[in-house]
């Protein structure tokens, strides 16, 4: 036997059921310009926080066979401004500052005196394309040790000859594949690829891998995150 209900009573039942869906309307906050930006910033912040949680410092990026390399001439060159900031390679020094025991200027010879690592890794651009490149250089972690960096500090910040700037979390800076890269495909970095020294960070998206490095600082505070990040891109963007 079916239970019976009066038409009016049924109407109030369905009205109540409809009202229970009001939480969906809360998503409308994203349409209000004043609320949208802080909400999206919070969403991106949450994603970056989750990225940090998911990051495994000992987990290596895949490496590839030489036969899988993207030909050097097909490795894209993405400069934000100029493709060649005309660095004087002979006078170039890397200026190291911040929480380090031995701040100062470091030459290419000093960087090259550290053990060299060469690997074929995937380079992923935030635009969506990816290439497999050959990179060689000193481990950033070795360099940080050699300058007596306080590795309990939170960040490394970088300045570049083309006014690009970046920052990197310490865990990624110490990753066993993060390079102060001075070679690609077995030859010194070309000017368009960031000569004389760029970062190669297989566990990060492309824009974190700054070219034409001039300054490196170990710090606990970030007043700026990075050129693209300060315009709204993810600050962590680990792969």
């Amino acid at each position: 036997m079916k239970s019976r209900i009066d038409k009016q009573a049924f109407k109030s039942v369905t009205r109540r059921e409809l009202l229970k869906l009001t939480p969906v309307v809360a998503l409308g906050a994203f349409v209000v310009p004043k609320l949208r930006d802080p909400l999206l910033k919070a969403g991106l912040g949450f994603s970056d926080w989750a990225s940090g949680v998911m990051y495994r410092s000992g987990h290596l990026a895949s490496t590839f066979e030489n036969s899988e390399l993207t030909p050097f001439e097909k490795f894209p060159i993405n400069g934000y401004d100029v493709e060649d900031p005309e660095v004087d390679l002979d006078k170039w020094r890397l200026n190291v500052a911040g929480a380090v025991r031995k701040p100062g200027e470091y030459s290419m010879a000093q960087i090259q005196s550290l053990p060299k690592q060469v690997h074929n890794t995937r380079h992923v651009c935030v635009e969506g394309w990816d290439v497999i490149g050959n990179f060689g250089g000193a481990l950033l972690s070795d360099f940080l040790k050699s300058v007596g960096a306080d590795t309990t500090a939170r960040f490394i910040t970088m300045q570049c000859a083309d006014d690009y700037y970046e920052s990197l979390d310490m865990a990624t800076a110490l990753h066993p594949q993060t390079l102060l890269c001075y070679e690609m495909y077995g030859a010194p970095l070309t000017r368009k690829h960031g000569a004389p020294v760029r970062l190669n960070i297989p566990t990060k998206i492309g824009y974190k891998q700054a070219k034409y490095l001039t300054d490196l600082k170990v710090t606990n505070v970030l007043d700026k995150v990075g050129y693209w990040e300060d315009q709204g891109y993810s600050g962590f963007y680990g792969l």
């Binding site: 079916k2 239970s3 019976r4 209900i5 009066d6 038409k7 009016q8 049924f10 039942v13 369905t14 009205r15 059921e17 409809l18 229970k20 869906l21 939480p23 969906v24 998503l27 994203f30 909400l39 999206l40 910033k41 919070a42 969403g43 991106l44 949450f46 994603s47 990225s51 998911m54 990051y55 495994r56 987990h59 990026a61 895949s62 993207t70 001439e73 097909k74 490795f75 894209p76 995937r122 992923v124 651009c125 935030v126 635009e127 969506g128 394309w129 990816d130 290439v131 297989p202 566990t203 693209w228 315009q231 709204g232 891109y233 993810s234 680990g238 792969l239």
Partner: protein, 231 residues
Amino acid sequence: MSTHAISVEDAKTGEATEAVYEHPYIVRLCHWVNAVALFVMVGSGMQIFRAFPSFGAKIPEKDLLNWPKAFAIGGWLGGALQWHLTFMWIYIASGVLYLGYQVVSGNYKQVLFTPRDIHGLWPMIKHYFFFGSKPLATEPYNALQKQAYTSAVILGVLSVLTGFAVWKPIQFSWLAAMMGGFHWARLLHFIVMWATLAFLFGHVVMVALHGWNNFVSMLVGWKKNPEYIVE
């Protein structure tokens, strides 16, 4: 089937209409949250795709299609990523809540396509596409609907898995490897989106064809004059 039916009576005229409680609250909540989230994920996803609308090499770049900006969300790549990386959590949360509720409540039986539904597929296809007579229905969803909704849920899960393989191809290297690496995961993520849109197209057409009472049932849970026999 545990579908709960009642008789709605008009005191003045004495007329009675049958109504069934078809969609539990959590299912309706998740449905509409997911609808909004899917809209944002597809719109922002297409804006992200616009940054490199290809699945080939970057040099030389051969664009697959030029998706109009008017049908994209976020305005620029960075903006679209903010939308995508925000709403993916809402999309995932609604999906997890839905699946959890369906399993715990047992309500999944209403919609899950199982081997015993296979024999019901052909009569429904004949009915929808070849003017065949409508098979007798005794539950809310026919075999073809179960197949469609079960596929939609699987596509939802696949969109999240392929998405994580694109977003975190190293931390989830096992996931990316299952798909053939980052490059293929990105293509699969795109294909899964189109498959979801194909489902959505059919879904919206069928909702439009099945009238007001059917549409309202996803808002209030109750469906008046169900098109199937209860009990």
